[in-house]
């Protein structure tokens, strides 16, 4: 079976691919459209479905009516926007699951706020959804496996064992350093920061990332929701 998923995240660095020209909302994304966050979310969704015939198909996100942008960053903290993203149009373009992934930037109530937006009535017509809130920043999640960081950088970079303690700026800077090394590696340097982020998202050990509580909660919810959807589909 295929899980049809739409991901909304902080920005292009998280969910952008090399191909930045997205198809219309609801249409399937190609591999070139996928960013690091897509790959990490996919791994979380499938983590408890090993050996089962389940695949994740990401769909192109809805746009903001005012300017046709993809909702990102502070857009995702607005009640109206979040509720629209999880509203169902009752037609074939509806996804099975909506994933909203934000950075807390130190705001411990951010995830609670978003969940409250979604849970307000009328609940029964909303799509299934998961809200992930990276402690501080998404970059901290990608830094959660020091061995993977060394591997992609091509040298020991001494990534911190506790990236969730970094400020958002520190996490972004640490990751940027690793990505720069990954691009400069010879002879197999990665073509861009986006490519390096994606590569990192595919090799990090989820067990290591789960040492961060925010990731542990998110990955658990992803696995649980994917299993539920797989069971429902028979």
């Amino acid at each position: 079976m295929e899980l049809r998923v739409v991901l909304y995240s902080e920005g292009h660095a998280e969910s952008g691919g090399e191909d930045s020209s997205l198809p219309p909302p609801g249409a399937p994304l190609d591999p070139g459209h996928l960013g690091a966050a897509h790959l990490l979310v996919e791994r979380c969704l499938l983590s408890k479905l090993v050996g089962q015939d389940v695949a994740v198909r990401f769909l192109s996100p809805l746009r903001l009516p005012d300017d046709a942008r993809i909702p990102r960053g502070s857009d995702l903290l607005k009640r109206k926007t979040v509720r629209r993203l999880v509203a169902s149009f009752g037609r074939g373009l509806d996804p099975d699951l909506v994933v909203v992934l934000v950075d807390t930037d130190g705001d411990t109530q951010r995830r609670t706020l978003l969940v409250r937006f979604i849970d307000e009535p009328p609940v029964k017509h909303l799509l299934r959804s998961i809200v992930g809130a990276a402690q501080q920043a998404f970059e901290a999640w990608l830094l959660g496996d020091p061995k993977a960081a060394d591997e992609i950088a091509g040298e020991a970079v001494s990534a911190t064992e506790h990236p969730e303690t970094l400020s958002p700026d520190e996490a972004k800077q640490s990751l940027a350093t690793i990505l720069t090394l990954a691009r400069r590696r010879t002879p197999d340097g990665l073509s861009s920061d986006l490519a390096a982020r994606r590569k990192l998202a595919t090799i990090v050990r989820l067990e290591d990332l789960r040492r961060q509580r925010s990731f542990e909660e998110f990955s658990k919810e992803c696995a649980s929701e994917a299993s539920r959807l797989a069971r429902a589909a028979g």
Binding site: L22, P28, L62, R63, P65, F89
Partner: protein, 302 residues
């Protein structure tokens, strides 16, 4: 009234069925098939370029259903003609053409781009012209009257009277695109003979957003026969979210192209879905917002 149309093998319309209301609006990205669908309503012959994927072995077929009378079916291969069941007037109005003076001539139907607006207006009875002028002044309150003024060359051109100084008459080049378009829309229902169906591409061009509601309302009344005379069914094709906000959900059709082969799919607002009412409310009961979010299709990628 045309209730349903099925088209097969015409341009990008591989196999499309669409329901119509008295007033219907087609919404979609550029190249989504809206114009092709409008074209099916009044074309009479099939060239190779009109056939799906330019395949000479295919026949273009049409099936029309009406609210009274039996269905109409027709099929044609390359270089063959179609019979016509309804009189459709297709308008792709061009404000440059609408402003042109006309060589004085009796004309009862507006041409596709509207180049004979002056003649069409001037051919109407004076009482009808006065009625149009009153409606026009209520929609565009900068003016109080409009008429066709003769020129020395045997031509005549429309002029518009200033509301605050009745000695001043403006020529078409001195008034806005929207002003000329409003007059055009008001003239349409007085054409003779009246077509069965009016198909207008991008009626919003040049119109102030405030006027769109009144224009849509006027077209809806014309379509329902509420302004007197027989109903004149109207089909619009638009890219305007502002116009869409003045439509009713059941009047909207979204055009999309299938990724696999580029064929067109037409969808309606899912009014029967239990989700629709709540979702529409989340979008502030705005068809513009719903459309531009992409949740119902009819938008391009970006």
């Amino acid at each position: 009234m045309l209730k349903k149309l099925r088209v097969q093998n015409f341009r990008c319309l591989k196999d499309v069925t669409i329901d119509f209301e008295p007033l219907t609006v087609l919404v979609g990205a550029n190249g989504s098939g809206k114009s092709s669908l409008l074209k099916t309503l009044n074309f009479s012959g099939v060239g190779l370029a009109d056939i799906w994927q330019h395949r000479a072995d295919l026949r273009v077929t049409l099936r029309m259903e009406f609210d009274n009378g039996g269905p109409f079916e027709a099929a044609a291969s390359q270089n063959q003609g179609f019979g016509r069941r309804i009189d459709t007037q297709l308008l792709q109005l061009d404000v440059t053409h609408l402003r042109q003076p006309n060589l004085l001539n009796e004309e009862r139907r507006l041409a596709q781009a509207g180049i004979n607006l002056t003649n069409t207006f001037a051919t109407l009875p004076r009482k009808t012209q006065s009625e149009i002028a009153r409606e026009f002044a209520s929609l565009v309150p900068s003016f109080t009257d409009v008429f066709a003024r003769p020129l020395q060359s045997g031509q005549h051109r429309l002029v518009f009277q200033d509301r605050w100084n009745d000695q001043i008459w403006y020529e078409p080049s001195e008034v806005s695109d929207g002003t000329v378009l409003v007059l055009t829309f008001l003239t349409l229902r007085h054409q003779s003979p009246l077509p069965d169906l009016l198909a207008i591409e991008e009626p919003e061009r040049g119109l102030h957003p405030y006027l769109l509601g009144q224009i849509v309302s006027t077209l809806r009344k014309i379509a329902r026969g509420e302004l007197g005379g027989k109903p004149l069914q109207v089909v619009l094709a638009t890219h305007s979210g502002d116009l869409l906000n003045h439509m009713q959900p059941e009047e909207v059709r979204f055009f999309n192209r299938r990724k696999e082969d580029g064929s067109v799919v037409v969808e309606k607002v899912p009014l029967d879905s239990p989700n629709w009412r709540d979702t529409f409310r989340e979008y502030d009961d705005s068809l513009r917002n719903v459309w531009l979010s992409g949740g119902l299709g009819g938008v391009p990628g970006n």
